[in-house]
Amino acid sequence: MDGITGAELIRAAALLGAGMSMGFGAIGPGIGEGFAAGKACEAIGRNPDEAGLLTRTMLVGQAVSESTGIYALVVALLLIFVVKG
């Protein structure tokens, strides 16, 4: 045991950063998509005939609001696979 070298420290920090990036980055899309789904449920309850259109609009809106979470995923993947200590 010679203690932790610089390369190991960089690797550890990159892996920790990847986990933190994914954890914090998942909060926003989680709240946003749940909010969109709740509003869509309310709208379908009021207007059941338009359920198909509402579901389609909800899915597209959720896919767009998911993008911040996807950026967090890309950052996490860069930290895991690209940063070599």
Binding site: V60, A63, V64, S67, I70, Y71, L73, V74, F81, V82
Partner: protein
């Protein structure tokens, strides 16, 4: 796990420069293109007959719904953007579905494919805006609300390309990684078919639709 971000490459020297070709991505893209060409040949074969074959009926429904969608979003009667949009959606859907065949990888898993489609959309959007409004009005819009905001507007336009391509890339790569992790954990004894259905068929279709819709929306915003 390390092979997730690696693709098969072929390197050569050309005019003193080092060129690298992602062979797996190129071959899978060619496969998708071949499937599209065969499908359209089948759909347009013997169209003079009184009773059309099933492929032609499906193609007619697809083309007319895409035409309606494009014209409603762009608020025009011109059909000039419909072929681009319909082809882009079909290409992306087939690319995202290719992962369910074992041994083949989605071309959209490589950042080069979404990024080149995003850059293509960027150039089409700005060419359409200049052609529609003239170069003076087009340049004047960058100085809204004041002249000092012009760099921010330029960065905003460039960020659209990054956002639209990284969204598609991240979704497809994330799905592929989750499938690989789950398969690794259960030693690939049972392939997780429901994961393939969710990530390839469901998410792939939605992301292809979102990419296409955003491209139309960017054109609509730029030409209005």
């Amino acid at each position: 796990m390390e092979d997730l971000t690696q693709v098969a490459t072929y390197s050569f020297e050309l005019f003193g420069r080092h060129m690298t070709v992602n062979t797996a991505t190129i071959l899978n893209t060619w496969l998708v293109m071949a499937v599209l060409i065969v499908l359209s040949l089948v759909a347009t074969r013997r169209t003079k007959k009184r009773i059309p074959n099933p492929a032609q009926r499906i193609a007619e429904v697809y083309v007319s719904s895409m035409d309606k969608l494009t014209r409603e979003t762009l608020e025009t009667t011109s059909r000039s953007y419909m072929p681009l949009v319909a082809t882009m959606f079909l290409f992306l859907v087939l690319c995202n579905w290719l992962g369910i065949i074992p041994g083949l990888a989605e071309p959209t898993k490589d950042l080069n494919t979404p990024l080149s489609l995003g850059i293509m959309g960027f150039f089409i959007t700005h060419t359409a805006a200049i052609r529609e409004k003239g170069i003076a009005t087009y340049l004047k819009e960058y100085c809204q609300p004041f002249f000092i905001m012009a760099p921010l507007n330029v960065i905003g336009e460039l960020a659209k390309v990054v956002s639209i391509s990284f969204r598609l890339f991240g979704n497809i790569l994330g799905g592929a990684i989750i499938i690989a992790v789950v398969s690794h954990m259960i030693y690939s004894l049972v392939l997780p078919p429901f994961l393939y259905v969710f990530f390839s068929l469901f998410v792939g279709t939605i992301q292809a639709f979102v990419f296409t819709m955003l491209t139309i929306t960017y054109i609509a915003v730029a030409t209005k």
